[in-house]
């Protein structure tokens, strides 16, 4: 007889499910301003603990405190607030447009606006992002025309991607925004390659990789860390931990490591965790990592701790797997409200001006939408041509595709 203990499988589960009361008490949140800011040329070995903390700048009162504060002027912060508000208004309109059948699909950013909007402001033109589908803030903050975004979403005749891509899978080389793949993770290692190329060419431009908490489990994440670490590529690698991967809570991808940032420790990379709902903290950390990359000091891994307030996509209904009120309980608050309160506290903003700005921004978004709709929406008005379907598979169309196009009669 086998007297050895019986094994059993451990399957991590979130602490709460629909019907339960949300509980984030396990999330340890350090005081704003309490995490030190090391010099950018620090030896990664010396800052391993940053992978288990959270860098925060905005305190409960809306003040910017501590060593990471002060990377932006009030004017710049106000611009940042507008970017986030614009993204939120944009999302709201596009969600409605999807419900109206003007497009097939949409993915929103609610709760995560600070991450991409703030990060973008730490970059320079010429740098290249390799984003996922939840970083449209990079485009908004980078000055990409909203009309072009909408044209893409509507797959209309003015769609810069000619109707070929799923909505929100934007691409703009000019704006440092690499073509989004529908396949998770793949772009993370490509970012490292782009950065290596920049280093090979003795250029000064850097690359930025983006990945979701759930997607860190993909192989590309590992390859990215291996190559970035080995060749000290000038790249910033961002993990956006919004707590969920569709219906799967972050504990499934994270396993026993405590944090996602900790993954970087095994590669000797500086690994920082930042309050992803704190625009100022994201900007400060981004600036630190970007400077490190730019000075050829190598890659940085950043975990942005945030929360996906909305559904995963328009095909998803989160009430099936998490309490409806969970997002209210999220302890890091709302990035827009927090930044608004900061500016009010600084005396350069007010509730009144905020409401005005909201209205103005909504007008701009609506105007852009009107403009875009002139070019058509998914099922009505102008469409990309069927000929376009056959173009661009190769630089030059090979004979077999020409035959097929002919057969299609276009």
């Amino acid at each position: 007889m086998d007297e050895r203990p019986r094994l059993s499988l451990h399957v991590p589960e979130p602490e709460v499910r629909p019907g339960d009361t949300p509980d984030f008490s396990r999330v340890v949140i350090p005081r704003a301003g309490s995490v030190p800011r090391p010099p950018v040329d620090v030896d990664p070995k010396e800052i391993r603990d940053l992978a288990y903390s959270i860098i925060r700048v905005l305190d409960r009162e809306g003040q910017a405190v501590g060593p990471w504060a002060g990377t932006l002027t009030d004017e710049e912060v106000a611009v940042g607030l507008r970017h986030m508000m614009t993204l939120r208004a944009f999302d709201a309109r596009m969600l409605t447009a999807q419900r109206q059948g003007k497009t097939s699909f949409y993915m929103q950013h609610m709760g995560e606006e600070a991450v991409s909007c703030a990060f973008r402001m730490a970059l320079e033109d010429g740098d290249m992002n390799f984003p996922t589908y939840r970083q449209a803030g990079l485009l908004i903050a980078g000055g990409y025309p909203m009309v072009d975004m909408m044209n893409q979403i509507f797959s209309n005749e003015a769609d810069p991607l000619k109707g070929r891509q799923l909505p929100v899978m934007y691409s703009s080389k000019e704006h440092g925004f690499f073509s989004i793949s529908g396949n998770l993770g793949t772009q993370f290692v490509q970012a490292v390659g782009w950065a290596m190329a920049s280093a090979i060419r003795n250029d000064s431009r850097i690359a930025v990789g983006w990945i979701g908490d759930g997607s860190t489990a993909e192989s590309d994440f590992h390859a990215a860390l291996v190559f970035a670490s080995t060749y000290r590529a000038p790249v910033v690698l961002n993990i956006v931990n919004n707590q969920w991967a569709i219906s799967t809570f972050q504990g499934i991808a994270r396993g026993g490591s405590g944090t996602f940032a900790a993954r970087g420790l095994g590669f000797g990379l500086p690994a920082l965790r930042v309050d992803g709902n704190d625009y100022l903290a994201v900007h400060a950390v981004a600036k630190w990592a970007v400077e490190r990359a730019r000075r050829n000091l190598g890659p940085t891994l950043i975990e942005h701790v945030t929360y996906r307030v909305g559904a995963h996509s328009t095909s998803d209904d989160p009430s099936a797997y998490r309490p409806k009120t969970e997002s209210d309980a999220w302890p890091l608050g709302d990035p827009v409200i927090r930044l608004k309160n900061h500016l009010i506290r600084r005396g350069v903003w007010s509730e009144e001006r905020h409401r005005q700005a909201e209205a103005e921004i909504m007008d701009t978004v609506i105007a852009a939408q009107k403009e875009a709709e002139k070019h058509g929406t998914l099922h009505s008005g102008g469409k990309p041509s069927v000929r376009d379907m056959f173009e661009g598979v190769y630089a030059e169309m090979p004979p077999h595709l020409r035959r097929q196009r002919q057969k299609a009669g276009v």
């Binding site: 000619k162 993909e218 998914l378």
Partner: protein, 337 residues
């Protein structure tokens, strides 16, 4: 007998298999608590517990890799890849490992796993939610490849696949999940509840792997199809009034060559359909086999009607999809050749 959608039938197959055999385990991205983005595994975790049905990290390689290890141990994993478009990260584990384990270990270790995945277009999913990668598996010795076209078959084939001693790629045409679809995307969809193949036995039964089914008898031309294209073929034949014999292949590997040859030797003409891109698609193998085995009976070249050799576009979905118009034209051309 019950009325089931294809989703319900697939779920029922796993339910029955898990109930009969403790070694059957089910896992994949979002398949545990939530029950899968298409709900194919809904309720299984609640019924069989978290160690027999669970969520996984987003790593298709990991899903298939651990499934192979489990199979080597003696379990029978039935795993879900969320969309067939996302199977490539697991491709090495499937091709180099699952498919070859029995052979290279001379039968010491075997790999009875099922890899389920929604396949095909028709839901405006763009290039990453629409692919039909079956030909990338039919080239791999050691795999079986199954594509059901209705709830009744789906359940019986899936139970066969789970009970099979070898690895099976099980491709579920997502456009058929809720009803047959003939390619007329502008017409209302018939639900499975209105279709006789939506009548599905609740208990255990199997549909054998490797056996095709004639869906429509005919004598003028043989149509080889599987999955969604079976219904497109039917619509096209009706619309053009052509006496087509439509064969639903059901299993692509191993293939029911006898059924194919018998029919083509009778009709003398053959049209091959699939949604995947043309070049090196499974239609190439079918056309090659038909001309090899029925050469002296053929009165016209075997034609292929397929997706074009481009990624699956979003806006031009219905220009890409080989719908009843294109199929009908090919039927006419085959008759007139």
């Amino acid at each position: 007998m019950a009325r089931m959608t294809m989703i319900e039938a697939i779920r029922s197959a796993m339910d029955v298999a898990m109930g009969r055999d403790e070694r059957v385990v089910v896992f994949g991205e979002d398949v545990g608590y939530f029950g899968g983005v298409f709900r194919c595994t809904a309720g299984l975790q609640q019924k069989y517990g978290r160690s027999r049905c669970f969520d996984t990290p987003i790593s298709e390689l990991g899903i298939v890799g651990v499934a192979i290890g489990m199979a080597a141990y003696g379990l029978k994993p039935c795993v879900e890849i969320q969309f067939a478009d996302y199977v490539y990260p697991a491709y090495d584990q499937i091709v180099s490992e699952a498919a070859r384990l029995r052979y290279r270990s001379a039968g010491q270790f075997t790999c009875p796993i099922v890899i389920r995945m929604p396949t095909g277009g028709g839901i405006f999913g763009g290039q990453t939610h629409s692919q039909s990668p079956e030909a990338l598996f039919t080239h791999v010795s050691g795999l079986k490849v199954v594509v059901p076209s209705n709830p009744r078959d789906a359940k019986g084939l899936l139970i066969s696949a789970i009970e099979d001693p070898d690895p099976v790629i099980f491709l579920e045409p997502k456009r058929l999940y809720n009803g047959p679809f003939d390619g007329h995307h502008d017409r209302p969809v018939t639900p499975w509840s209105k279709h006789e193949a939506g009548e599905v036995a609740e208990g255990h039964y199997t549909v054998p792997l490797g056996k095709a089914e004639v869906r429509r008898q005919g004598s003028a031309v043989t149509v080889l199809a599987y999955g969604t294209m079976v219904y497109v073929a039917q619509a096209a034949a009706e619309e053009r009034g052509i006496d087509a014999e439509i064969i639903d292949l059901r299993t692509l590997l191993p293939l029911d060559l006898d059924a194919i040859a018998t029919s083509v030797q009778k009709t003398g003409r053959c049209v091959v359909l699939h949604e995947a891109t043309l070049t090196s698609g499974f239609g190439a193998e079918l056309a090659a086999l038909v001309q090899e085995h029925c050469f002296w009976h053929l009165e016209a070249p075997v034609q292929r009607v397929t997706g074009w050799d481009t990624p699956y576009p979003h806006a031009q979905e219905w220009d890409y999809f080989p719908g009843p118009r294109r199929v009908g034209e090919a039927l006419v051309a085959a008759m007139e050749a």
